[in-house]
Symmetry: C2
Subunit: 853 residues, 2 copies
Amino acid sequence: MQQPLVQEPFTLVMPGAAMSAAVHGGRAKCLQRLSRLELPVPTTVALSFDAVHGIATGRLPDVAKILSHFGAEPLLSVRPSSLDPDWGGPGAILNIGMNDALHRRLCAEVGEEAATRLFLRFIQSYAVHVSRLDPEPFDLPEHADAAALRAALDAYEYETDEEFPQDVGVQLKHVLNSMARAWEGTTARLLRQAKGAPANAGLGLVVQQMALGVGAGESGAGVISFIDPSTGMPRMSGRYLRQAQGRDALVAGSGGMYLTRDERGPSLEEQAPEIFARLAEAGALIRHALREEMQVEFTVSGGKLWIIDAVRVPRSSQATVRVAVGLAEDGIIRREEAVMRVQPSALSELLHRHVDPTAKRDCIVRGIAASPGAASGQIVFSAADAQASAARNEPCILVRRETAPEDIRGMHAAKAVLTVRGGITSHAAVIGRGLGLPCVVGASDLVIDRKRRVLIAPGGREFAEGEIITVDGTNGEILVGEPAMLEAALDDTFRTLLDWADGFRDIGVRANADTPTDATTARNFEAEGIGLCRTEHMFFERGRLGVMREMIFSNSPDDRREVLDRLLPMQRDDFRALFSIMVGRPVCIRLFDPPLHEFLPADKQGLRDLAEGLGLPLSDVTTRVEAMQEYNPMLGLRGVRLGVTVPEIYEMQARAIFEATVDINRDGDPVVPEVMIPLVSAMKEVELMKTRIDAVAAAVKVETGADFDYKLGVMVETPRAALRAADIAQHAAFLSFGTNDLTQMTYGLSRDDAGRFMSAYVNQGVYEEDPFHSLDIEGVGELLQIGAERGRVGRKDIVLSICGEHGGSRSAIAFCRKQAFNYVSCSPFRVPVARLHAAQLALQEKEPALFGK
Amino acid sequence: MQQPLVQEPFTLVMPGAAMSAAVHGGRAKCLQRLSRLELPVPTTVALSFDAVHGIATGRLPDVAKILSHFGAEPLLSVRPSSLDPDWGGPGAILNIGMNDALHRRLCAEVGEEAATRLFLRFIQSYAVHVSRLDPEPFDLPEHADAAALRAALDAYEYETDEEFPQDVGVQLKHVLNSMARAWEGTTARLLRQAKGAPANAGLGLVVQQMALGVGAGESGAGVISFIDPSTGMPRMSGRYLRQAQGRDALVAGSGGMYLTRDERGPSLEEQAPEIFARLAEAGALIRHALREEMQVEFTVSGGKLWIIDAVRVPRSSQATVRVAVGLAEDGIIRREEAVMRVQPSALSELLHRHVDPTAKRDCIVRGIAASPGAASGQIVFSAADAQASAARNEPCILVRRETAPEDIRGMHAAKAVLTVRGGITSHAAVIGRGLGLPCVVGASDLVIDRKRRVLIAPGGREFAEGEIITVDGTNGEILVGEPAMLEAALDDTFRTLLDWADGFRDIGVRANADTPTDATTARNFEAEGIGLCRTEHMFFERGRLGVMREMIFSNSPDDRREVLDRLLPMQRDDFRALFSIMVGRPVCIRLFDPPLHEFLPADKQGLRDLAEGLGLPLSDVTTRVEAMQEYNPMLGLRGVRLGVTVPEIYEMQARAIFEATVDINRDGDPVVPEVMIPLVSAMKEVELMKTRIDAVAAAVKVETGADFDYKLGVMVETPRAALRAADIAQHAAFLSFGTNDLTQMTYGLSRDDAGRFMSAYVNQGVYEEDPFHSLDIEGVGELLQIGAERGRVGRKDIVLSICGEHGGSRSAIAFCRKQAFNYVSCSPFRVPVARLHAAQLALQEKEPALFGK
């Protein structure tokens, strides 16, 4: 087969050379930029991706031509240069060119010890990384003397049956070859693909003249950066080591000195102030020119400073935000770029306390990372114990097989929640995210032994009630004990960045908020309104559950109405609280949704209490509770089906909403509540409910003498509602797609039960991703599109949105932008992330050339 | 408002008159037809629907003009003539025109007693039906003498303050007016609408010269028909009564004579052979000309025969079929017409034993008519009791809150099933239909008191275990005791009709059949194959459930495979049995579908037995059984999800299918089994399963050295599978739409839970019909259409069908024909009905003018 023609397999790095990161990799391009700044960069030759791929497939490079760029007896380093440094790659190899002759010359120039050490290090690298020999015989000796050198050379010959190569051309050829092949290895490929590299990601190589760092005069090597990598605050830091090469200064225990004056020891600033000054100057230059905070690798050779390399400072999420904002505030980058530079996932980390990445982790079990952040506390196995624990001021972790609505107060009391069952949208997960509570669900390898009150982990490890564990909801791990934590870090730069983001985005972001606490969080995160207020949680509160049960056991509409009249003032207060927190912003209230049996006790004691409370025989109560059980509650008597069959509940809720509206409107900005009907599958359901709710509104207007507006809309959760959206839109001012339920029904997949096989499905590639985690564009998305198009046919100015757990994800926001939805709504803690995603998507569309993909 | 112009409000009935049933009603049109046959029909005038509606709204008719068609002193009858006699209407009024003068004349002609009786009867009719007086004073006296006549006339004058009208014009005017108004009354309107009459159904009236039936010479009246109304067999029957009018002969205890020679008493054939002969001749003439079996009303007046009226013989379902086939076999109607004349619901009745329509019914409660037919037996409350009862040869009715797969053997043992919960597609309903077992489900007004072992019905009626009740699955009623039954009646004419139907239909009909019994039924009903063989029932059989449970508790794929190896020969036998019954016809086998936990016991004793059987601690077994429970089993780990995560089950099933195929192919016609994958939601699921099943096929071929074909297809049950049908069809030879599950998911509605509110929904018109009963064309239908279109995009020659409970319904078959599906598949007992529906739909399309709608 004919080899593809490769033009310019290698390029001398200099200001005018034709180079790009896409062809030669980031390091090569960066070195060219440094050279443009007229910084003292040693001679460098860059090999393109194609050239390196060619090497790996047998097309050996014209080494002589490469060497022609260097002097007669060159000493070289080779470093990898891929598109993204995170993708890894072979380690640098230094001192290529060392041989007996050069060794002799260097013995004279820098002393035998130093010269021999250079040679030994090269032999070691070459033997281990190029000739792939067992490393042990090549360990560096304490004394770098002639005997040690002889031993190393002999060991090489013994192992390979060849003498150590003396020719720099041969050495370089083999180094390039081994690095090229290392990149193509399966493990390396899998590792980088796990970090997002494409299958065909290329490796460039950089061949650079070594600056020695050893010898007479000020000689050494160091690394400097100009920010604190944890906080992003400006602070010069790094290490410098005399008589050293490369990144030796960073090796622990290697000694060396600080860069800036420091009371703990000597510093470059004091010891070599001129070099320090030139380094500081170079740093400022690099920051402006490379438009990034860089970590600079430098070598001092006989008093001369060489800039060897510069890489983006590895940094924490907090620092990422601060650097981006700082660069933009200094006019170095545009605000658009600052917004694009922050990964939304980094924001998410900032919002939560999390395990210090450097802390030691003893992982008990892995589950599904359902709500980010981490917390430690004593194991408790019931909501009541969690509340008792909280009362004693002892942090606790609520561990349950699964959670149910009656666990909510226990969840409030706990620091984190761990469940054995459930998926990314299970009750525990949804509530956890709503509360900003770390949560791991579906840890199906755990067994709760309730009798013995222990948690049994894989391998038979047991953790008793009261023992301390840590829930890491960011990565789904449960850890033994209490590792070090980093606090949430919401600072001004965070707000600044999001303000900028809001200036760029073109789709609304609301929050799903059920409680005043949620609403306050939403407001703090500048949600534009509440997109989904689930009202059912309100009925589990103290003093309400009993009334609720009484309502369920009422025998006639009149009895029901009488009981609901007692709930009315409480509901009115709920809505008044929400309206006053969100004042001036829309609040979309979903009418009662869950099946009524969720409000009934399941255990014997609960049934006995209920029978006593209602003054009914236990057998009656038991029979009725049993009769209300459902096979598939998700698909049962809930949502608008309750609205149709037990209309008194929706009437009470509508009245509470309207009365709260009138109350709030007396004091200030008029509220326009949005009333949303759940689980619609037919137009007639909406028509019926609209008639009833309009009647309640008219009654409240007459009774109060006050006028108000409201909007009635539909939550599109069934495939049929999407298909019939044109009809439905006749009676609905808005359609909000409940993608959780819609995903369940489109796939025929219960989110609560999917956890048991979802990982197998995703691992085998049956589903590309968990559709509850990542909106299924192909299936559910098509129903959204059909629903949106038909909704607009039914009502030209219909307001479209999605609510539910997908609302904050990038793919869902991208989809909603494309379909020109009005807004997305997500958990309060995802609002900042969603705002950033939305801005980035808008910028990507506006300036595709700049922001790629 | 201007009255609409009514042309020809009345028409003299004669061969050339412009008349139609749509304008004048069926009776009028029929009389015209009789007159065309030159039969002795008395002078008749027909009033059109418009004319009668005019009368009801005040436009009184020109009575004089009507009377001008009759003689000087006419004696008239008025009879209703609507489009469909089933719609009811006012009763006939006879002897209009009777007055003092005519009475005197008739006294001379026919004798005082007879003349007075005619007058008295007219006064009675007129008083009660026209003047709406209390009937009691007008009861007919024992002796029709002058005193009685005086008393009647006085009573009339006393009640109305008016003399009894003497003028025939006045009498006729009031008769017409009262009959026209009776038709417009609310009750009459509701009654006929319940029978399918449109809101604007019109009434025509027929004014006819009376043939006296009293007086000298052979005089009397009778009714004759030429078939047995129960069986449809040719048999002259009816009654004749001398000195009588109208239908008097049919009044019980009125005496009279038989028509044909009969040893029980005198007959017209003997007493007046000439008249009898003319009557028989007229009957044959009428049958040919009216192309129907008619019941003829006749009067003999002084030896002259008059044909007064003819109506379609009311008949049983069995007779309906025989008459249609008989008329076609005699060349009187075409076979197409015969096929169109039988209501498919009538066929359904023939297939099952049913309650004699004339039996007295004491209805305990109503539920959902889930499987047609009726059966009586002792109440039992458990499957075990049903089996015990069957063992004692005591017919029993299994009464359960709901049924589960473990009740199947009890259902087999019972004569009928009654459940408190569930809808038209609940477990009990599906199995009931499959077994042809009468079944009523969702009788939610019943309470089962298990402790006291009684059934509590509305109104507190209690029925203890062992008491006899009757389940009428045709209309959903539960009856006290054991009313008279009519047996199923499948005769040759039934088969003839369906053979003809098969000649006309253009869509295939297969049966859903899981067992050899089902398959035999399917074969007897000439299903073209099995469209859906559900394999899960096979694992509940004796000796298999235990193995199944062992499999579920296996800890590794190897253990599972070892256990499944024990099930393999049993499965192979299952399939061999089906293939040999269906030989030469396709059998589509759905791989294992239900969640595994359905096979585990739910009660303590069952758990204890299981623990003992498996040799595991009870707590282990309990924990694992609990851990396998699902929130929404319908949407859980079942179908292809088991295929992906526990592949050994499908592999065993595929092997059983292929080994059975090889076995059967040795002996005869090659079988081409169809393997169907359930609950698919993504193409990849199919791809994965296809790879595995192809591998099993290849292995079986190698092992047996035999070659065979098979088809792999997909059951489209999730909305996503319909949306992604183009992908899926790449790997599927056929798509069969499981409309049960697809309806559940499209609506977000569990069929098992829907029963609790479906009637409220349908009554309030929220859903036009129960979508589990009647295919939802607008929503589910659109997904079917999308799936079909895209399936054809993915594979041009893909075979399309629906299986599931909708398969036999007319609307579903109509839909499938329109979408050019290849076949429908339904319960074996619905196959004949589906064949007839399909033929009728094809004929309707082919000859829309003939077969209307």
